[in-house]
């Protein structure tokens, strides 16, 4: 067990931001392991506690031991397998089964909570279409995160070269480089990018950030304090598949929370992974194929009922 974890960590180093200090680097490793811990034990190691504190990866060892048939357990194992490979040999992929999306918008809020999003930014809206006339009506819900395009128009549009396609497929906005030019925002064919204008949910009534807004945002594995008025304020922001979670061996927040169990996640380069199997199904589609962006978000087409 421990050996596996070492492998997993050593090879995960590719996802670590080079600018991170050693402490954060260690911290991330720590989080990667405690996700997989089976038997927690009390220890009195001060350094370890300090390291873990710095991480603040908001999660728990939730999945270990779940059944093979459990789709969460399956994706959990897929994720761990992927993390044992070099970063450029993974291709993080999301598959959303439109027939199973119940339109609850739980993912929208799970994401706001996870990424500490301010008013005005939504990473994962659920679009709703209604067609037909009474009584022959149909409705479809389409959750729409960042598509993590293989050829991202936002990256091309960014004059500051702050948007990069990572080797694992995730399109990253580098907050250090973002100059708030906002050219990426209209360039995205999916309206997936928002601009962090610096507001807080607490502004309106309390006149200051609420307690949960003062905690660090952890995007890209970097602990950043919005309450201290630093980045990601004044930066372009978008879904990054919860990179901070997946590099810790955890599924993206929207995947875990999905009420319809309609969202799947994993590495499509791994032919045995669930997502690799799903995208081989005949009813698979992607949004705006004509734009040539080659997204990493796939949909299983739901039948429009009437």
């Amino acid at each position: 067990m421990r050996e596996n974890q070492e492998t997993e960590i050593a090879q995960d180093s590719a996802v670590i931001d080079r600018n991170e200090d050693r402490r954060r680097f260690l911290a991330k490793f720590a989080s990667a392991t405690f996700a997989g811990l089976v038997a927690p034990a009390v220890t009195g190691e001060a350094r370890a506690l300090e390291v873990a504190q710095a991480v603040r990866v908001p999660d728990v060892p939730l999945y270990s031991g779940l059944d093979e048939e459990d789709v969460l357990g399956r994706m959990d194992r897929d994720l761990r397998r992927a993390l044992q490979k070099p970063v450029d040999q993974r291709n993080w992929t999301m598959v959303i089964d439109l027939e199973k999306c119940v339109g609850c918008q739980g993912c929208t809020i799970a994401c706001i909570q996870e990424n500490k999003l301010p008013p005005g930014i939504v990473y994962r809206p659920v679009r709703e279409e209604v067609k037909g006339t009474y009584p022959n009506v149909a409705k479809r819900f389409t959750p729409q995160p960042c598509m993590q395009c293989d050829d991202p128009p936002c990256a091309r549009a960014c004059k500051a070269k702050a948007i990069e396609k990572r080797p694992d497929g995730i399109v990253k906005i580098d907050y250090e480089k973002c100059e708030a030019l906002k050219t990426c925002i209209p360039a995205c064919p999916y309206q997936a990018i928002g601009f962090d204008a610096g507001g807080f949910w607490g502004d309106y009534v309390s006149g200051e950030p609420e307690a949960y807004e003062k905690l660090d945002s952890l995007e890209y594995g970097q602990a950043r304090s919005r309450a201290a008025k630093g980045a990601p304020i004044d930066k372009a922001r978008k879904c990054q598949f919860c990179l901070h979670r997946i590099s810790s061996g955890l599924l993206p927040a929207c995947v875990l929370s999905c009420m319809g169990r309609a969202t799947f996640f994993g590495d499509q380069f791994d032919p045995d992974s669930l997502v690799a199997q799903l995208i081989r199904q005949p009813n698979v589609m992607r949004l705006k194929e004509e734009a040539g962006t080659n997204p990493l978000v796939y949909y299983l087409e739901g039948r429009m009922q009437s």
Binding site: V42, E45, R47, C104, I109
Partner: protein, 936 residues
């Protein structure tokens, strides 16, 4: 390290483990720290706690991450099969309730008039003394029965009931009374149960042929018919989201019968837009069709599975009475009852649709016929439908069959033990009635059960306004003739002003005064975390610890015995206290004032810690009959009551009492729960009613008759009420209005209120009030959690849309003086937040020359009006308007931004008829109303 409690271990577990590994991997030096030092460190560390949600009564299992003492994120707990890691929008918005600026922060006492929202901050001691003095005085003057303990809209009620019963009042109630009693009626009457749900909770832990236990993820259901039940938007049962679409992908057909094209309908194979208030008509037709077309010899029409007769009594009587109606002519349409022509006329559906539905249900097995809260639960005659629904599921062989319909009340884990103090209801009390001293049980003083509502086993909260105004005269039982006023109303986490029948009637009752200027209701106490409308009418307001700050047990509706713990996650905010602490301090204060009934040994002398109380409450769990197939524990005797942890029962660390038929393993404790991810899961089985099993009827069979003589014994659930009526010779007004002199012995039928299509009495309103007004729950926009502003950016089903006008407002907080308007002004832009809107078919809108967003006035025949904005759409039956329950007309800070839209969004209950209380259990008929529409 041994001194660190289990909770510390939970929070250190992950950290410590991680640290060990990280350290060893990189060869960092180790340094041992003392236990005390570790504890200090832990206080500043993040931790994870497994607990239970209370953003809604679904109470999903959750795992909360805590950073530096602040709850940082809420995740679903994958080990709780009820929600299996999932979390809805509302659950994810929990942090906004916990850290809301509109939370009640301090105990407060009213200084203005009721409704004004003016309070002064007081200490807990002052608040408790104020309440205890008042209660003591009321009890001396009028008796403890003059006090109502309403533990409100969430389910962990145990401590409040214990306090109420301990004090001596039989009136300890909760949200169920105004939730869906007609919907529950059939199951309770016939099974002793409550809520029938489809068998779609997955995974379920099942005993395998080889003796092992395995999580089963497979769906067996072939057909689900949801009638007025919308689990995707009005969620109460978490697993019905993933379960419904999961079952569908596994081949099940889904049919939704609802006037509105709900999100559930959007995923269904078929939507039947039924006319509101005619669900019973559809079910009655289905039963007639099945009886008339069943054939034992034709496999395509072998609808009835006669094996149900072995497990039931009274079918012959039920069927015979049902058939008697077939010959009668309906005065509304001149057709014979329950024929397809009649049902077409009533329901507004097509003949082919309803005949296909009846055939489909009869011929598809396993199937589940499910009826919902917003329809049958809120209709005046919902009882008829729920009884027919039970009958349909039972005779077709679908009851508790794999993939069929489960009565979740019967099979969920029992918890709480004696925590609510129910045993105290049988204490002997004396009252002077018409000059004569009478002795009876405390329970026999009950204002409903021994007066106007004998069969209202969940109490009648909707009738409280009348009680506040007119008091109580008992007409049944030993205290017949005893009169008493209602003088104190203790409301905890409820919002009766908005949800407990007509809002205007509640306001009138709470502010009514005696000739001397005193309020008729002498004391209203409001206990909650958010500050909702009802709190504005209180004399004392107490801040209750939020769900992340208290301990209790989730009370939910899984398909089998699963229990999970609500645990302390963060420190209590502001000056809030837990329900346990409130119980203890108030009990002690009453005891100190010489209360003759409250005993130290039941309260402050009994429990040293909160954990002790809840561990005691868990001791009887799961407390259900060991029944069904596959038998959960093959080595343990069948039909014995099971008590104890899953692991002790599994390995047989048990004692068996053959006399009492109880198998006792090691008791479930708070500690055990914490060591097992906060959840206990016992195995699932099916056919749990065979040979009695989990049934809770007198005969331990499914009862199709409800009052009969078995030798010298009187049997059936209505028998005891009829005995009361016979003794008193007084017929309760609810059933008298139906022309009955007793509760029926078997099948009965009566019509709804405010429905011109089914009830002749209302035909005269048809032209002047052409719209039927119904409501639908929007899960993320309900009365108690409306303050979470993340949810205001969402919309739902043409009920809740961002149609709010631009408003410049002074934000409101709850401070030391109650509701405080800030000096600061902020502008809410047009269309920036969702508000409750009026769902109207485009055709109706065109006729009235309206466009989406237009402000209209709805007026009902009682002369009550409400203003709101229309949302024109194709997703509702023409002639029907639908509004969100609790999603408009709000005026308290706990409603968040929505309170600034009080005058441009509809409070559905302002238009409810306060006299339209359903006749057997007094449920407000929330969905039975007519209105006309005029441009505002």
């Amino acid at each position: 390290m041994t001194s660190i409690s289990r909770r510390d271990v939970l929070k250190t577990g992950a950290l410590g483990g991680a640290g060990v590994f990280a350290a060893s991997a990189f060869g960092l030096p180790f340094r041992k720290v003392s236990a005390a030092e570790a504890e200090d460190l832990l206080k500043t560390q993040q931790k994870f706690v497994y607990t239970a949600d209370v953003m809604c009564p679904a109470e999903c299992g959750i795992a909360v991450n805590v950073v530096d003492g602040v709850a940082s994120a809420v995740y679903g707990n994958p080990r709780v099969p009820y929600n299996a890691g999932t979390m809805c929008a509302k659950g994810c918005a929990g942090l906004q309730m916990v850290y809301s600026p509109t939370r009640i922060k301090y105990p407060m006492i009213r200084v203005g008039e009721r409704g004004e929202g003016k309070f002064k901050r007081v200490s807990w001691d002052e608040a408790i003394a104020f309440i205890a003095d008042k209660l003591t005085s009321i009890k001396k003057r009028h008796g403890a029965e003059s006090v109502i303990m309403d533990s409100g809209d969430v389910t962990d009620r145990d401590t409040y009931w214990r306090l109420g019963f301990g004090f001596g009042t039989p009136h300890c109630t909760e949200h169920g009374a105004i939730c869906d009693t007609p919907r529950r009626h059939g199951p309770k009457l016939m099974f002793g149960g409550k809520r029938v749900e489809p068998d779609v909770m997955r995974p379920v832990l099942v005993r395998q042929a080889d003796g092992t236990l395995k999580n089963d993820f497979s769906y067996k259901t072939k057909l689900i018919i949801y009638t007025g039940w919308n689990p995707f938007t009005a969620t109460r049962i978490n697993y019905e989201s993933r379960g419904t679409v999961g079952a569908k992908q596994a081949g099940a057909k889904i049919v939704v019968v609802d006037p509105a094209f709900t999100n559930t309908a959007a995923k269904a194979d078929q939507w039947l837009p039924i006319r509101p208030g005619t669900d019973a008509d559809l079910f009655a037709f289905m039963l007639r069709y099945i009886l008339e077309h069943h054939s034992d010899s034709d496999p395509k029409r072998r609808y009835i599975d006669w094996s149900f007769k072995k497990s039931s009594v009274g079918w012959e009587e039920f069927e015979a009475t049902f058939r008697q109606w077939w010959k009668k002519t309906d005065p509304v349409n001149g057709l014979n009852y329950f024929t397809s022509e009649w049902a077409v006329n009533r329901t507004g559906l097509e003949k082919v649709q309803i005949e296909d539905l009846a055939h489909l249900f009869g011929s598809t097995k396993p199937a589940a016929l499910i009826w919902g809260m917003g329809s049958i639960g809120h209709q005046y005659n919902g009882y008829v439908a729920s009884i027919l629904g039970v009958a349909l599921n039972v005779i077709t062989g679908n009851f508790d069959t794999p993939g069929g319909a489960i009565d979740t009340e019967l099979v969920k884990g029992s918890k709480g033990g004696k925590a609510t103090g129910k045993w105290m209801r049988s204490r002997k009390v004396k009252r002077k009635v018409n000059g004569v001293v009478v002795e009876g049980k405390m329970d026999e003083l009950h204002m409903d059960h021994y007066a106007d509502w004998p069969a209202a086993w969940d109490d009648v909260v909707g009738d409280y306004p009348r009680r506040f105004l007119d008091g109580v005269t008992l007409t049944q039982g030993p205290f017949k003739g005893h009169k008493y006023p209602i003088k104190a109303y203790f409301l905890r986490t409820g919002n009766s002003v908005i949800t407990g029948s007509a809002t205007w009637k509640w306001k009138e009752a709470l502010t009514a005064k005696e000739a001397n200027g005193d309020y008729k209701l002498e004391l209203m106490v409001y206990v909650d975390t958010p500050f909702l409308e009802s709190g504005l009418y209180a004399d004392v307001v107490l801040p209750e610890a939020s769900y992340l700050e208290r301990m209790s047990l989730a009370d939910v509706y899984p398909s089998h015995q699963v229990l999970w713990l609500r645990d302390f996650v963060i420190e209590k905010q502001f000056e809030s206290r837990t329900p346990f602490e409130i119980m203890q301090t108030l009990a002690k204060a009453l005891g100190d004032r010489g209360d003759p009934d409250i005993k130290a040994e039941d309260f402050w002398g009994r429990y040293k810690s909160e954990e002790e109380f809840w561990t005691e409450a868990l001791a009887g769990s799961p407390g259900r009959a060991h029944a069904g197939d596959p038998l959960p524990y093959p080595k343990l005797p069948k039909n014995y009551k099971l008590v104890g942890t899953p692991d002790s029962l599994e390995v047989g660390r048990v004692t068996i009492d053959h006399k009492k038929k109880v198998v006792k393993g090691e008791p479930v404790t708070v500690k055990w729960m914490r060591e097992h991810h906060g959840v206990a899961v016992w195995p699932m089985s099916w056919h749990r009613y065979v040979n009695g099993g989990v049934l809770k009827t007198g005969t331990k069979k499914i009862e199709f008759k409800w009052d009969w003589k078995d030798g010298t014994k009187r049997r059936g659930r209505y028998a005891k009420y009829n005995k009361l009526l016979e003794e008193s010779a007084v017929v309760p007004p609810g059933i008298k209005a139906l022309g009955w002199d007793r509760y029926p012995a078997t099948f009965f039928w009566f019509e709804g209120m405010w429905n011109p299509h089914t009830n002749k009495a209302y035909a005269k309103y048809r032209d002047a009030y052409p719209f039927q007004l119904i409501n639908g729950r929007v899960h993320h926009a309900m009365t108690g959690t409306q303050g979470a502003s993340w949810l205001n950016i969402l919309s739902a089903e043409d009920l809740y849309r961002p149609l709010g006008e631009e408003r410049t407002v002074n934000p409101v907080v709850v401070g030391a003086e109650g509701v405080q308007k800030l000096d600061r002004q902020v502008t809410i832009g047009a269309g920036k937040i969702s508000i409750g809107v009026i769902q109207m078919n485009q055709v109706d809108g065109d006729k009235l020359g309206l466009e989406t967003g237009d402000l209209v006035v709805l007026e009902n025949p009682l002369g009550k009006t409400q203003k709101g904005r229309v949302s024109l759409c194709e997703t509702i039956r023409p002639g029907v308007l639908r509004v969100g329950f609790g999603a408009g007309g709000r005026f308290a800070p706990g409603a968040g931004d929505l309170m600034h839209y009080e005058k441009t969004s509809v409070d559905a209950n302002e238009l409810v008829d306060p006299k339209a209380l359903s006749p057997i259990m007094g449920q407000p008929a929330f969905v039975n109303m007519l209105v006309n529409v005029k441009r505002a």
